[in-house]
Structures are given as C-alpha cells and as structure tokens.
Amino acid sequence: MAINLKVSSVGTRENRLGSITGYNGDLYDLVQQSRCGSLQNRERCFSQSSTCLSGCALGQLSGIRNVAVINHAPAGCTAGAPGSIVLNQQLAAKIGVTNNTVFLGTDMNEKDTVFGATETLREIILQTYKNYKPEAIFVASSCVTGIIGEDIDSLVEELKEEIPVPIVSIHCEGFKSRIWASGFDIADHAVLQTIVKPPKEKRNQINFKNFFESERNQITEIFREFDVNVQFLYQNSTVEELEHISESLATVCICGTLGTYLGNALEQLYGVPYIRTINPLGIAGYEAWLREIGKVIHKSDKIEAYIQRERAIYLPQIEELKKDLKGLRAVIGMGPGYTYEVSRVLQELGMEVVWAAAWHYDGKYDNDAVPPALDYLEKTSPTNIKLSVADQQNFEVLNIINEYKPDIYFSRHPGTTVWAIKQGVAALYVADEYFIFGYKGTLNFAKAVLDTVRNRSFEKNLASRVKLPYTDWWYQQNNSLLLKGENLLEENGDNLLKSVGENLLERKEVV
C-alpha cells in the first residue's frame, strides 16, 4: 500500500493490511486464505481486557531522547508515563547517556467533554516547551478527544509558528482499531512526517528497529565486523539521529509487526531497502537474515565468514541440547511478529508446536506480501499446526492449555505468563525481543527451556494452592466457542469516525 505522509492519520491495520483479531483453524488454511485474500475476521461475543493502540504509540515515541509527549486525555490514559520514564532512565544509563524526555497529560475533566479544551491544550504545549525545551513534541489524541472532535491538527499547525522544533499531532483513539500494533504505525507515521528528512548523502549505517535494545552491544560488535554502524530505533535515539535514517544502507527490524510501516515507508519514500526475510531468531532465521543483509550492503563475503566461524562455535552446543528438547510439546501465545517465528525455532530445536496463538494477524505487510514467517513455516513445518488469532484472550488460551496439556507455554506479554503456571504448566516469558537472537540467543533459549521444564517446583506449588478464574463449564467448551461466524471486515474506520458526531446528536435527541 502506498505510504502517504500528507494525511494526518495513518490508516488502521484492519484497513491497510486486512488484519484480523479472530480466527481459529490451522497453518495451511491461514496461509491459503491469506494468499487468495479470502480471510475474514471473526468477532467475539465475549472478550477480556487487552491492550490499546495508544499505549503502543506513546510507548514508542516516549523512548526517543529529549522529546515531549503530551497526551490530550483524562488522567488515566497517561498512566503509562511513570513506567515509560523510568524505563527511559534505566536504558539511557545502561549506554551512558541521559534521556530527558517528558510524558505528560492534560487531565481532561467532564467540562472539557462538553466545551472542549484545545485552548488549555495550547497553554500546556507552550508551557511544556518553555519548561523543558524538548527537541520535538508529539501531541496525542485519545478516545475522549476523538469523540468530542477536538481539532488538535489545526492547533498543532498554528503552534508551528510559535514553537521552533518539530511538533506533530498523533491520532490515538483507542477504539478505532482492535489491533494495538496500529499504534506502532502511528508512531512511525509521526516520526516520518515530522523528523525524518529526505536523504542528502548515504550513511554507512543500518537502521535497526527494536523495542528495548538489550543486545545493543552485541549487535554493534557484529555489525562493526561488517564495517557498518547501527542506528537503533526508537529507544535511546535522538531527534538528530532520526533526521538521517533516510540515509541508511538498509532497515532491519527484530519484529515484523513492529517494523512494517517504517521499513516499507523508508523504502518507498527514500529508497532505503527494507530487509524482509524471516527474522533473526533461531539458526535458519539468523542466517537468512544475515545473508540478505549481506546482499543489500554488499558484504556477503564477510557475512559468510562470520556465519561459518560462529556456526562452528554454537551449532555443536545447540545440537547437544536438542537431544533433551526433542519431543517437548509447546503452546505459544504471542503477537504475530513472534508467534510464527518462535514456532519455527521450536521446530528447529526438535520441539512440537501443538498450538500457536497470535494476538492478531496481518494478512499482508505494507509491501502487500504475506508475512514471511508464516510463508516459511508453511513450507518447513513437518506437519500442519493448529493456529488461532486470539486477541490476547486469556480464556481461549487457558482453554487450549487445558485441552492440550503442553510441556511448556511461551508467553511474551506482561501479565500473561502466570495463568499457565496456575494451571500447572511450565511457562517461559520470552519478552526480551533478543531472547532467541542469533546463535548465542538460540543456545541460551534452549538452555532456558530446559531449565524451565526441569524444575517445575514453582508451578507445582502455586497450582496446587490457587483457584482458577474460569468455570468448569468453560473448560469443557471448544476454545473457539465465543467467536462469531465469519464477518466482513469492518467498514473503513476513518469514514465511520466522521459520522460519530452526527450520530451522537441523533442519540441525544432521542434521549
């Protein structure tokens, strides 16, 4: 899909990518339907609290150093600020820099929902600029501001006259997409619109989009060997660095869900190649990824030499562990950027994936192709795999775990690990995006899996003492029971949003 930076709001994933949050079936069917474009969403008639795109968008942007994120919303919507700012400080300290980013809100109240609060927002933006002199300002809308129709776009346009740093509005109405990853795109769109400049000269660097850069040192070292610098995004990046990402040799991303918009946009707009292989998790993923980078940056010889050297160190160790991992049965519940990647790695290590749940599914990425990990998995998986698109719905996951009784459950999102443990199943939290990165990560991951399944004391102790939140009735049902029939994808969200105001008026008259 063509990237258009002129529009203030990027389309949701449902609209851009045909993404869905409800599906229950298997690998072969999902790939088949993705290829012929017949995939349709199944809504739920029951759901549990999950995540919204606002948290993802604001979380990404607040990781940039020395900027201001101003959330025009009631107090609760800014509750992510303390966590983000503490994280910023810890991660900045780790690499010996400081991050003075501020993340604040406008604490909207009931009067504001009637009369609007753009004037107060204006004052708050100006005061924030005066207090902190941030290098860029992101002004976010929320559910409330979206519904009452606050015109933050015009306000931001006006303020560009008064504020001499990049300032942009970002549209974070939590209700407009079921897919919180749309928030990643919103953040990318804002960075591309306001900060990134057209290229002047090529830089000897590669853009590396990730979350929290735990392996920053290792990756910097690896790419130094290929004579290339690494520009990590967005955590710990500066506005000045972001201005130049259009000049990089290539963009890579540790997670396809996270990277699709930025990677494709930089390629479409500025000719920066986006590496679209399977991700560098596990051996096959790492090698495919490295080789593609080698081709793009013309360093295939060096990369081949690196692969051979590292293989000799790690492969024998991994092979040794595979003997013990063989046959372990696993259930996975992660975002789609990881579910299919981790499935491949587990199979590579000799484990059996009995169910893979992804929280949403992008039928295609911004280059209109089926996500590579799924495509690859379909070709390499020894058998078909049961899959669901489960929208982080814990009741479905626990039903699956109860039915399939795996040896281990792999989680990736905060608050989702404990439930497998409460059902007595070992669980490993694969939150760090580099947990399975490269040969070394794959080896460490294999060790962690074995450590997890070999000492089951914690889950045994806890499971024997706690009650589960679900009824016996639920455990006797099929996990897809609350999925409705296949529905057409929802109408274009942006059009729907426009009619909100009119509809509200009508409703009020009726009342």
Partner: protein, 432 residues
C-alpha cells in the same frame, strides 16, 4: 477544566477497578476501551485470582461508539456469568460509554435476578481520578449490593484507610490497623485482601461505627453508610505512623468506641515501651548520622503527606519544609487539610501546596533551603529530583516502579520503625 498533569501521580476513576479487585471473588466487568485496564493496572501485585487480563471488557470499538454499546455490554455480562467464576460482578463504565450515553443502569437491571449479584458504578475517567472513583465504587456496592439494616454488633468496627493497590502500603497498613483496633478490645471488619471479601461486606451494616483513617478519601462512602444504615462514623484524618500518633489514634478510637480506658492505656504503655526499646537502641544512629539534616519534604497524597509529616515532626523531631499534596484533593477539603498541617508539636506549622504539576513542585523543592542534604519522601518521580539536590530519597508513594512492596506497612508503632529503617537505609549509604 483540563490542567497540566506533569508527572502523573494519580490515574482516573476507572482505575479504582483495583478497589473491586482487592475484594476477594469480586470481579470488575469493564465497559470501556480494550486497553484501559492494562494502562491502569500497574505492574505488580496484580496476578491474583482475577487480573486485568481476566476482567471481561466490552473493548469498545467504533461500532459501539456510533451505534451504542448496550447490546455489547449485555452480551459481555451474560458470557461473563457463564465463563468466570466470581461471587460479585461489578460493571464499571469508562469514558467512551459515558460520552456516547449507553444505558448501563438499564442493562444491569436485566440481571437483577441473577443468582450472583451484578451491580454497576459510573467511573468515567473524565469525571474524576481514582481517589474519588474509589469512593464511587464503594457507594455503588453499599447502595446496590447491601440490602437491609442488620442488628448492630457491639464493638464491631468497619475500617477504611488507603485505596487498594494505588497506595503501596494499603494492605499492610490495613492489617496493622486491624491488629491495633483488636488490641483495644474492638472487632475489626475490613473487606480487602486475604481471608476477607464478600462475607465482610455483608457485615458492614452490623458495625457499631465506621472508622475512616484518611483526610478526605472515603468520606463520601462512610457518609453514605450513615445515611443508609444510620451507622455513625469516626473520621480520623491522620494515618498513625510511629508511637506519638498511634497512641493519639488509639485514645481517640477508644474514647469514641467507649472502650475501657484502662485497657487502652495498658495497650499503649506496652506498645510504647516496646517501640522505645528499639528507638533507644538505635537513637545513636539517628543522632550521629552526619548526613542527616533536620529538614524533610513529602510529595504524596493527602493521607501520606499528613501522616509522614506528623511522624517525622512529632516522633523523630525533624522540621517540615513546604509539603506537597498531589492527589488533586477536591477544593472543599483543602483548607481543613492545610489546618491539620499546622497542628504539630511545639507550635510547628507546615505550609502545604496542592498541585498536579510535578515540574513546579520540583522547582520549588530545588529552591528550598534544607540546611544540609534534603530528605525527600515521595514517588518514583522524585528520584531524579533527589539526584539533582543530593537528597536522601525514599519511595513511599505511587508511582512505585523500582521498589517491591508486598505486605509491609508504615502504619502503627511497627510501621514507624519500618519507615525509619527505610530512611536510614538510604542515609547510611553516605558518610558525609
């Protein structure tokens, strides 16, 4: 009107879903966006019987914004009753459902004959913060769940103090207050945490009185209980920390309850003797730690700012700098609260500032004279301020991101010692 919320120290009314979460086997059903609960839940202490990932949620999308969410809510409640094993279901509304005007009351009424009670509270985020939302939820439970006046049990006291989970020491403090109340011969009744729950809510109308230990949060709900059941309440604004305040507290409660004076004095004497056994042994640390100046600042909610100011002045002999209250205390309570800061030993008075603007608070603290290293008790937001001002810093208040508090407490005699431990564990990391 909107205002700058720089360094947020409170959340919105919907975040008081934690009040429901704190009642064993009570389940919030959220009529709000899909991400509200995750944003509001905080990161620790949340994986009990029901966590935010278990809370049913209508996950409002554009469709409900436009066409209304009544059907979605009905369906969600129906399925919650089938899927989640709970004893009390509390429907909570968020901003979106309130603005679009869903008829939550009507929807919930459909479930009035359900075997397990289903009630609702209006907790739109724009209507107030989680301190007031807490009161609204309690009122909703008292109003819709509790039915009839019951026979009053002599000596039974409902205790209400800090708000669940947002106040980092809420549960430990509550347990310690229960212990103290029991020592003077009364029978405490509380509804939160292990071993308490709906059976304790059932007992609320049987209490002789409600004891509210808080400057303002909780007043609405104890007043409501007075209206509905005629249960009087004792509003004791100072969470007692340390010997001086805890002794005052026990005397006040004892007198109000008509407890035996001898018994109260006997308890006080025994507790104080034990407390001062420790204080005496460690007094040299307090007197001879070179880096401790005499001045301190608390940046917290009204309850902790008042409680800790009283403790450090009246117990430990320190002097208050200007103190800060960051809970967006409603205007009508501010004057009275400021007066309480003037009631300190030896005529000492503390000035107090109410603000949601962390930047302004920090500027004032940086400009203040602490006559040595400042002692700052506050939230995670004060950590950097402490670095800039070379202060001793203890995190006692939301947000608490870099400290784990399970069930420890600062209330009572023991709680005072714990707070001193925390303060000196920081001070002792420096010699001069």
């Amino acid at each position: 009107m909107a205002k700058i919320l720089d360094q947020p120290r409170y959340k919105c009314a919907l975040a008081a879903m934690q009040t429901v979460q704190a009642i064993t086997r009570a389940l919030p059903i959220l009529h709000c966006g899909p991400g509200c609960a995750e944003k509001l839940s905080g990161s620790v202490g949340s994986s009990g019987l029901y966590s935010p990932h278990i809370f049913p949620c209508t996950s409002i999308s554009e469709k409900e914004v436009i066409f209304g969410g009544d059907d979605k809510l009905t369906e969600t409640i129906e399925n919650s009753l089938k899927i989640i094993d709970a004893d009390l279901y509390v429907v909570l509304t968020g901003c979106t459902s309130e603005i679009v005007g869903d008829n939550v009351e009507d929807v919930v009424r459909k479930f009035k004959d359900n075997e397990k009670p289903v009630i609702y509270a209006s907790t739109a985020g724009f209507k107030g913060n989680n301190y007031v939302g807490h009161d609204w939820i309690l009122k909703a439970i008292f109003d819709q769940y509790l039915k009839n006046k019951k026979e009053v049990q002599k000596g039974l006291v409902n205790i209400w103090a800090g708000i669940p989970m947002h106040d980092p020491f809420w549960l430990g403090n509550l347990r310690e207050l229960e212990t103290l109340i029991a020592e003077i011969g009364l029978t405490p009744n509380t509804i939160y945490g292990f071993g308490r729950g709906i059976k304790n809510i059932d007992k609320i109308p049987e209490a002789e009185f409600n004891l509210l230990v808080s400057p303002w949060v909780g007043l609405e709900s104890v007043k409501f209980l007075e209206e509905k059941f005629g249960t009087p309440y004792l509003h004791y604004p100072v969470l007692p920390v340390g010997a001086f305040e805890t002794t005052k507290f026990l005397r006040a409660v004892g007198e109000y309850a008509g407890a035996s004076k001898e018994k109260v004095e006997e308890v006080i004497q025994r507790k104080e003797e034990e407390y001062y056994y420790y204080i005496e042994r460690y007094a040299d640390v307090f007197l001879e730690t070179r880096v401790m100046s005499k001045r301190f600042v608390v940046v917290s909610d009204a309850s902790y700012s008042l409680a800790i100011t009283k403790f450090l002045v009246n117990d430990i002999g320190l002097f208050p700098s200007k103190q800060y209250i960051v809970d967006d205390t409603p205007e009508e309570y501010r004057e009275q609260i400021s007066e309480w800061f003037k009631e300190l030993n030896y005529g000492i008075q503390a000035e107090v500032g109410f603000s949601s603007d962390g930047h302004q608070i920090h500027q004032e603290i940086e400009a203040a004279d602490f006559n040595g290293y400042p002692l700052i008790l506050g939230s995670n937001w004060e950590k950097n301020l402490a670095k800039r001002t070379d202060a001793h810093y203890v995190n006692i208040s939301y947000p608490v991101v870099e400290r784990l508090i399970i069930n420890s407490f600062i209330a009572g005699y023991k709680g005072g010692l714990k707070l001193i431990e925390d303060i000196y564990s920081v001070a002792l990391t420096r010699f001069n």
